[in-house]
């Protein structure tokens, strides 16, 4: 086909995206080499001082990064297991199938921060319904938001509530698009439901699963809204994630230069680790 036309289709979108993004990216890199803070709000040049500080003298960033890894991996694993189970159940004919499908989709349509505001009242330690109901069953009040360990699980609960539907949607759409023949063959062979799942459904779903997990990991690694409203990173720094730490450094303490260093380092780590995870998952789930 004519050579010229393809660029007419591609370029508007490509250039708008590059046009909007080129400044922020170059600016972030340049800013990371400066000492811009509230005392000297200017673009001076201090070389790699910020990077040296980050790699030698900032355990809080690395802690927040490991916390983020823990939170995002555990939420995505839970979402995958629950989402897959739900998708398998409503894939087949069951009573009120369409009703359940709609219900299972609803949380992803709701604004995370707004629902988290509701969750915050829900988990309220003295006035919230959860501790009240548990109390009626004789359970001692649980410190959902102020215990450093439990607060992490509260964040996980809210994230799982919010985003399992997305996993469910991707997996159900995948299940519905599977070819029918392998299932017929398995049925003729008299395979049990369990064997059918292990030998037919799961292998067929592997590429879709990998895609869904990667997409969710990308989104989960940005976890910020929930933490911001639910615990503000607290108690102490118990639920502080990388994004939230960068936010504190950059927009609360106005150490812009250092925050840019954190941003850039974080972005590089994310791209590398997501690429590795994608490769490993593909190796694990798709057997030759």
């Amino acid at each position: 086909m004519n050579f010229r036309h393809k660029f007419v289709f591609l370029f508007p979108g490509l250039f708008v995206l590059i046009g909007i993004l080129i400044f922020p990216i170059i600016f972030t890199i340049r800013l990371s080499l400066s000492g811009w803070n509230s005392y000297t709000p200017e673009m001076n040049f201090i070389g790699i001082t910020n990077y040296i500080r980050l790699f030698t003298d900032d355990p809080r960033f690395w802690e927040s990064f490991f916390r983020l890894s823990f939170l995002s991996v555990s939420t995505v694993v839970l979402q995958y297991i629950i989402g897959f189970a739900l998708a398998l159940i409503v894939w087949r004919e069951i009573k009120f199938k369409r009703f359940f499908r709609v219900i299972f989709l609803i949380p992803m349509m709701t604004t995370p921060v707004i629902m988290t505001v509701i969750w915050r009242t829900f988990f309220h330690e003295s006035l919230g319904p959860l501790n009240d109901l548990l109390g009626r069953l004789g359970v001692e009040p649980i410190l959902w938001l102020s215990d450093p360990v439990i607060a992490k699980f509260t964040v996980i609960i809210v994230e799982v509530w919010q985003w399992t539907p997305f996993m469910f949607l991707l997996l159900l759409a995948g299940l519905l698009s599977l070819p029918k023949e392998p299932f017929l063959a398995a049925a003729i062979d008299g395979a049990s439901s369990f064997r059918k799942f292990v030998y037919v459904t799961f292998p067929l779903m592997a590429p879709i699963s990998i895609g869904a997990i990667i997409i969710r990991l990308i989104e989960a690694s940005k976890i910020m809204d929930t933490v911001f409203v639910l615990t503000s990173g607290g108690p102490g720094t118990a639920t502080e994630t990388s994004s939230f730490y960068i936010y504190i450094k950059g927009l609360r303490e106005f150490q812009m230069g250092y925050a840019a260093t954190l941003s850039f380092t974080y972005l590089v780590i994310m791209i590398i680790s997501l690429t590795i995870i994608a490769k490993v998952l593909t190796k694990l789930m798709i057997k030759e």
Partner: protein, 282 residues
């Protein structure tokens, strides 16, 4: 064994449904409470546990000067920003997706897949990484705290989604379709506009819905890049979440904010059941 499995299945989905619905029920109940019924002890059922009032709902339309919250303007701001950014992203994203699905690009080591990946990879950027430079960028060109500035930023959020869904979708639309149109004497633009687009409506709807969802639910950019002139809905609602939280108006405004997109859940389910989504979302 089979019966046991059925019971397990139904109890699992029932439990999950309860888990999903619980915060909504709590919010509905709370929105009709007053100070007394929130702060004395935990109450659940109106009339039985507490005397319902409409205070929480009335506050929403009162102007701030009279002690209200006034979420009407943020509501329209949110609708405007979401719809405009989605529309632009869909138009540009669909064109780019069509190019990436139908033509071969080669520039050095860059191939089609690399360009597609470039588009989609923009989702990896955490909002915080972009928000600091955007803050300075927008204040330099005078678009901080404005609707236009937000639309520009939201395009970055939404175009990757449009490209991601539409590339996959176009890959499934048979090539013969446009080839026939070209043989029939259409130029490439006519072939795209008159033949390919009308056959891509399901894909466009899915992409549009996803753009609207992800535009509507964004909080962070709106939070960083706007102050007083322009406020979006999530920012307004979260601002209510102060130390002395009026739980009733908080719940009412939360319900009003999440309501419109719940309709989207029904539309998505319809497409899912008709099998149209399977192709568009793989």
């Amino acid at each position: 064994m089979n019966k046991f499995y059925t019971i397990l299945k139904y109890s699992f989905i029932t439990l999950w449904t309860v888990f999903i619905v619980a915060p909504f029920l709590w919010a509905v109940s709370t929105s009709f409470k007053d100070f007394q019924s929130v702060n004395s002890k935990v109450t659940y059922i109106p009339w039985l546990d507490f005397e319902p009032t409409l205070e929480g709902w009335k506050v929403l339309i009162k102007s701030p000067a009279r002690g209200g919250v006034d979420i009407v303007e943020p509501y329209f701001n949110s609708i405007f920003v979401t719809c405009t950014a989605s529309l632009i992203s869909i138009v540009l994203g669909t064109l780019a997706a069509y190019a990436l699905s139908r033509f071969t690009f080669k520039a050095g080591f860059v191939r089609n897949n690399d360009i597609t990946f470039f588009f989609i990879s923009q989702r990896i950027m955490p909002p915080i990484v972009l928000s600091i430079p955007f803050f300075i960028f927008l204040s330099t060109i005078g678009l901080l705290d404005s609707l236009v500035g937000l639309v520009v930023v939201y395009i970055v959020l939404l175009m990757p989604i449009a490209v991601w869904i539409m590339v996959d979708f176009f890959n499934r639309v048979p090539k013969e379709l446009d080839e026939t149109a070209l043989i029939d004497g259409c130029n490439p633009y006519q072939a795209f506009y008159k033949v390919v687009l009308p056959n891509s409506i399901p894909g466009l709807i899915v992409a549009g819905m996803f753009c609207i969802i992800f535009g509507w639910i964004d909080f962070f950019f709106a939070f960083i890049l706007t102050f007083t002139e322009v406020q979006l809905l999530p920012v307004k609602v979260v601002a209510l979440n102060s130390s002395i939280t009026p739980w009733w108006s908080l719940s009412a405004s939360a319900l009003v904010s999440v309501a419109p997109l719940i309709i989207v859940a029904f539309v998505v389910e319809r497409y899912l059941s008709k099998g149209n989504l399977s192709g568009a979302l793989k």
